[in-house]
């Protein structure tokens, strides 16, 4: 997988413990927005490098008939989401 680290717009659900689950996200490619539904989350991991907490989600989606694996990253300190790796 390659590191992309592109900011994305996300719709996520939060459980009672405040743990988020991304449902779908929008990414602009060549100024053309694409919406991708997150179909499956394989696992999530937490890191606090440099004291900054970030949650990484390993996800799967079908894009144009192909099963794609990618990682999303959420930064609770700023509320921002990124497409981390494809």
């Amino acid at each position: 997988m390659k590191v992309i680290m592109k900011p994305i717009e996300v719709i996520a659900s939060f459980n009672l413990n405040g743990m988020p689950t991304p449902l779908k996200f929008k990414i602009r490619e060549n100024d053309f927005p694409v919406v991708i539904n997150v179909e499956h989350i394989s696992f999530r991991s937490e890191e606090k490098l440099a004291g900054n907490k970030m949650i990484t989600f390993r996800c799967q989606s079908t894009v144009k008939g192909l099963l794609k694996v990618f990682e999303l990253k959420f930064e609770p300190g700023t509320g921002k989401w990124f497409l981390f790796k494809i």
């Binding site: 590191v3 680290m5 890191e47 440099a50 004291g51 900054n52 970030m54």
Partner: protein, 417 residues
Amino acid sequence: MSRRLIFHVDANSAYLSWEAVRRLQHGDKLDLRTVPAVVGGNPETRHGIVLTKSIPAKKYGIVTGESVFSARAKCPELIIVPPDYYLYMQCSKAFGDMLREYSPLVEQYSIDEYFLDYTGMAKALGDPLATAYRLKEQIKQELGFTVNVGISSNKFLAKMGAELKKPDMVHTLFPEEMPYKMWPLPVEKLFGVGRATAPKLKERGILTIGDLASADPRHLKLFLKSYGYLLWNFANGRDESPVRPNRRVLIKGIGNSATIPFDVTDRQTARLVLLSLVENVGARLRRAEYLAGLVSVSIRNNKFYSYSHQRKLSTPTDSTNKIHETACRLFNEIWHQEPIRHLGVRVAELCTNSLLQTNIFEENIEKQRAMDRAVDEIRSRYGLKSVMRASFLHSGLNCVAGGTVTEEEYPVMSSLL
């Protein structure tokens, strides 16, 4: 009582590795630690000194404290990143929290250094050396930066131990190891020997720490006064200072200074710069609930020559206007009309503000205080630039200058262990 066990944990090239880790976390492909890079000021606003360097930058002969300009001359492809004190505080806090998993007695000694008292912890966590390695690895894994750990029976030796060889190392420096680990080092490596003391010792033939340890303390006292005894004790590895959790330095004075982006040549601009400095000093003074009895002003001119002047106030005050007025008067008395590069204001002789002595000749002081209070409150809620004095309009100056973060939050290293 059994021997104490103290760890000194020091982040390697702290500012730079923290910046590097943040960049990696945000998807940057380049690790700043692997290329010549420095954390330094912005040369355009003339805040141009090297604060921290990477190890590859060190190979070009770049030293901490030199100007960014001369560093770039040594290495044209040098990467310069601006400092970010909020990031450093965040890293430092996470660093401290991790250390507290290893002992309840942890002292923050500076932004990137901690002391940890491991005395008696061996029963719970095991061998100190093994724990130190575990601690070092845990910080590297979870926080992403490397540290040096020094282990000894007091704070001084632990600190000397952590400095031995960097980066990412664990060293022990127990008193019995001093003759071969510490005494052969040059005397300026000793904690407390700096550029003022080192020449004095060298002139007298004391070249290594071992020379100092075997010197006659009465002889040292002749030219170093009581500090000679302290250094002699240090050189012999004697130090009894305890690990103090929640170290808080007693505030003796509050100061603020700034290097101005351009040379100041007229009185009017200088008054404005002083005002922007005093705005910050005044607000901090009031927040700490103190009154100041002394104001001092310092000037550094374009030839890097510095001088200062101070005066006691007839009655202690916390008013921005009154401090500014005194600062301007002091400034007028000493300024030689040459271009100014750097200005500073400092207040001292602090006393509590629960009782305020008024001056018979003074204007309505209650009104003045209410005004200051209102401005402080607005600024704390809506930001520093939410209210500003009209005199700063179109002046090109910041209405509140200097002070990245207050020193209550940002621990600076002290000369006391």
